[in-house]
C-alpha cells in the first residue's frame, strides 16, 4: 500500500490555523458580524444585498501572447465564449523593463519575445490588439501589472480610444500597478524604486478621478504575494498595509476627499488556492477589514466607499504539471470557493498553467467552468450561502485576528514599502515557500499525481501551448516603421516634457498621454523614467 492511502492527520489550514474535528455554536462569537445580513456593514457576508441577482460576477481571464494580432484574436475568442471583460497581457520582457525590442538584453533572448503577452511598444501596437473590439462596450484591463509600466499601458489604451473618436471619460476598466508582482513576486532586472512607484500610482488615482471617473485606477492585488508564499492572513494584512500607503499618500496630497480615494482603491484582488474553507473565509474577512479600517482609522462613513469589490485569480501554483487535466477539477473547486466568498470578478487559471500560457482549449475550459457555476448550480441565487457555518465563522474570526496582527507588524517595520525595501516581506514569503516544499517531501502536504497516487502514464497528456515564433521579428519591423513614419520632432518634444514633469514631481499622466499620443516608444519612455527615478535596490540579505 502506498503512503498516499493513509489519511493526512495534520489538522491545520494551509496558513497553520489549528482545525478541530467539528465545530458548534460555542465556536462563534454571538456578537459576530456574521449575524448581519449581506449588504449590511461591516459587509462580512457580502458588499451587496442582492448579490449575483443584481450583478453576476465578471468573467475575466488573463490573456495574451505573440503578436498583437494573436492577442486580439484570443481576446475576441474569449469574448465570443462569454467572457464579460478582457485583459491584455503585454510581452513581459519589454513591458516589465520598459525596453524596446532592440534593447541588448532583449536581443540576447529574442525567442522569448511574445512568450506571455503581445509586444506593444507603441499605441499603434495596442491598436492592432484592439482591432474589432469595442472599447465602449467592454470593461478592460489593458495591462500595466508592473508599476513602472502602468502609465504607459493605460495611456496606450486611452490613446487608441481617442484616435477612434471615443470619449475616454466614458471608458470602464481597471489598472493594476501591482506592488506584490513588481517588488515581491516577480522582481525584474530593472525597476524604479518602490517609493517612487507610490508617487506614480497616486498620480494615476488623481488622474482617473478627474478624467476617467469610471475607471478603477489601480488594483491592490495580493495574488502575487500569495503565490510567492504569503499565507492567507499575511496576504490580508499586507494588502491592507499596501492600501494604507496609497490612502495616506493621496490624503497627504490634499486633492481628493478620503471617501473619493477609498472608492478609487476599493477594487482589490486576492488569490484563492486549494484550502477551500480558509480561502472563503479570507474573502469575507477582507470585506470586513476594509470597512473597519476605513471607519476606525479614516473616519469614512459613505457606504459606497466602505464596500470592497474583489477580483480573484485562482492559484496558478496549485495547478500541477503532472496529469494537467486534473487541474480542471482544481480550477472548479477554487472558482467555487471564490463564488461562495462573494467575489465580483473571477479568472480561473488554465489547466495547462504549469506547462505554458493557456492554450485556446484551456481558456475555453476556464470560461466554461465559470459559466457552469453561474448557470447550472443555483449558487448565484442566494448571497453568502455558507454564512452562519460554525466552522467558517470561527475561521473568519481567527484569520481576521491574525491579519490585523500581521498588519501591525508591517507598520512596526515602517509600513508596507519599508518591508519591501528591507526584504522583510520577502523573508516571510521564503519561510513559507520552504515549508510548503518540505511538506511535499515529508508527505504532510499531499498533491494527487505529484506525491500521492502518482500515475505511470497520463491518459490525457498535454504537450504545452507553443504560441508564435515571429513576434520578435515583426515587432522589430513595426518599431522601425514607427520611427520612420512618426513626427520625430513631436515625439522628442513630448519625451522632453515628460522628463521635465517627472523631475518636477508633477502628475506624470498628462505628459505620458502626450508622449504616447506622439508615438513615443515604450523604450524611449523607459529611458526617461530610468534617468529620472533610477533603480530599485533589490534587498539581498545573507
Amino acid at each position: 500500500m502506498s503512503e498516499g492511502m493513509e489519511l493526512n492527520d495534520d489538522a491545520r489550514t494551509v496558513s497553520g490555523l489549528p482545525v478541530k474535528v467539528s465545530y458548534g455554536p460555542s465556536d462563534v462569537d454571538p456578537e459576530s458580524a456574521s449575524t448581519r445580513l449581506p449588504g449590511e456593514a461591516p459587509y462580512l457576508r457580502g458588499a451587496f444585498a442582492e448579490g449575483y441577482r443584481s450583478k453576476p460576477w465578471r468573467i475575466f481571464q488573463l490573456s495574451g501572447f505573440g503578436n498583437p494580432e494573436d492577442e486580439g484574436e484570443r481576446i475576441r475568442y474569449l469574448l465570443e465564449k462569454g467572457e464579460t471583460g478582457f485583459i491584455m497581457e503585454h510581452d513581459r520582457m519589454t513591458a516589465d523593463h520598459l525596453y524596446d525590442v532592440d534593447h541588448p538584453d532583449v536581443i540576447a533572448r529574442s525567442e522569448d519575445v511574445g512568450l506571455s503577452g503581445a509586444v506593444q511598444l507603441s499605441a499603434r501596437d495596442t491598436a492592432l490588439v484592439l482591432e474589432g473590439i469595442d472599447q465602449k462596450k467592454y470593461y478592460a484591463h489593458p495591462g500595466g501589472a508592473v508599476v513602472q509600466h502602468a502609465p504607459f499601458a493605460l495611456a496606450a489604451y486611452w490613446t487608441v480610444a481617442r484616435r477612434r473618436g471615443v470619449d475616454v471619460s466614458t471608458l470602464t476598466g481597471t489598472g493594476q500597478s501591482d506592488y506584490f508582482l513588481t517588488y515581491l513576486g516577480c522582481i525584474t532586472k530593472q525597476q524604479i524604486p518602490a517609493r517612487d512607484g507610490l508617487k506614480i500610482n497616486c498620480d494615476i488615482v488623481d488622474f482617473c478621478h478627474k478624467n476617467v471617473p469610471k475607471w478603477v485606477p489601480i488594483s491592490i492585488a495580493g495574488y502575487n504575494g500569495a503565490d510567492t508564499g504569503l499565507n492567507a492572513f499575511q496576504e490580508l494584512g499586507s494588502v491592507f498595509a499596501c492600501a494604507i500607503e496609497h490612502l495616506d499618500e493621496t490624503i497627504r496630497r490634499g486633492r481628493l476627499r478620503v471617501e473619493e480615494i477609498a472608492r478609487c482603491l476599493g477594487g482589490v484582488n486576492f488569490r484563492v488556492g486549494m484550502d477551500f474553507m480558509e480561502d472563503i473565509a479570507k474573502l469575507r474577512v477582507a470585506r470586513k477589514m476594509w470597512h473597519d479600517l476605513l471607519v476606525s482609522r479614516y473616519g469614512v462613513t459613505d457606504p459606497r466607499a466602505l464596500k470592497l469589490r474583489i477580483h480573484v485569480v485562482t492559484a496558478g501554483s496549485s495547478m500541477t504539471y503532472q496529469e494537467p487535466m486534473n487541474n480542471i477539477v482544481r480550477g472548479t473547486l477554487m472558482a467555487l470557493a471564490s463564488i461562495l466568498g462573494g467575489v465580483q470578478s473571477l479568472g480561473v487559471s488554465g489547466y495547462d498553467e504549469a506547462l505554458s500560457i493557456p492554450s485556446e482549449q484551456a481558456h475555453h475550459m476556464s470560461v466554461r467552468i465559470q459559466q457552469i457555476l453561474m448557470h447550472e448550480t443555483n449558487l448565484a441565487k442566494v448571497v453568502d450561502p455558507l454564512g452562519g457555518s460554525y466552522y467558517l465563522e470561527s475561521l473568519c474570526g481567527s484569520l481576521e485576528e491574525r491579519a490585523w496582527t500581521f498588519l501591525s507588524e508591517i507598520e512596526a517595520q515602517g509600513g508596507f514599502i519599508s518591508t519591501l525595501d528591507s526584504g522583510w516581506l520577502h523573508a516571510r514569503a521564503t519561510e513559507n515557500q520552504f515549508e510548503l516544499e518540505h511538506a511535499l517531501v515529508t508527505g504532510k502536504r499531499e498533491l494527487v499525481a505529484v506525491n500521492v497516487h502518482q500515475g505511470d502514464g497520463d491518459p490525457f497528456a498535454v504537450d504545452g501551448f507553443q504560441g508564435t515564433v515571429d513576434a520578435f521579428d515583426r515587432a522589430t519591423v513595426r518599431l522601425q516603421e514607427l520611427r520612420r513614419t512618426r513626427d520625430g520632432r513631436g515625439a522628442v518634444q513630448a519625451l522632453r516634457t515628460l522628463e521635465e514633469v517627472c523631475r518636477r514631481g508633477d502628475n506624470l499622466m498628462p505628459a505620458m498621454l502626450e508622449a504616447v499620443g506622439a508615438d513615443a516608444s515604450l523604450g524611449e519612455i523607459g529611458s526617461v523614467m530610468r534617468e529620472v527615478y533610477g533603480d530599485w535596490k533589490v534587498p539581498i540579505n545573507f
Partner: protein, 148 residues
Amino acid sequence: MEGSDQLLTPTVGATIRLGGAGKRVLVAKTSLDGHWRGVSVVARALRDAGFEVILLGMVTADEIAQAAIDEDADLIGLNVGGRIEVAERIVKTLRAEGFEGPIFAGGTIPPYAIRRLSELGVECYPPGSSLQSIVEAATRLTAAEEIR
C-alpha cells in the same frame, strides 16, 4: 531549517554565493521573467545538501558560459523561464566555450521542450519534481563528473 529566514531574490545582476566547500553548482536564471520562487527554493535545497551554490542573476548565454569557466563549476542548473530555443542556445554556447560538465534544468518546461533538451543531454526537473529528486540528481551528476 538552517537559513530559512534568510532571503534570496536571485533576479538582479548580482551573483550570490551560498554554502561552503562542497561540489560547486552554478544556478542561472535564463529569461527576463522575474519569478524567483522556484530557483530560490532549489538553490537553498542544494546548499542545505552541502553544495556550494553560485546563483547568477538574469544572465545571457555568453554570461553563463563565462561564469561556468571562471567559477570552475561542477554542475550547471538552468532555470528555464522562457522559450526552449533560448535554453538550447545556452547549452550549445556552454559546450562551444568548453564547458564539459553536466547540465540540468528546472522551471516551466513543457513536455516537448523536455524532449528537445534531453537530446542535448540535459536532465529536466519540471514543476512537481521533489527537492529530494533534484538534490539526488545533483549528487549523482557531480559524482559521475569525478569518475570521468
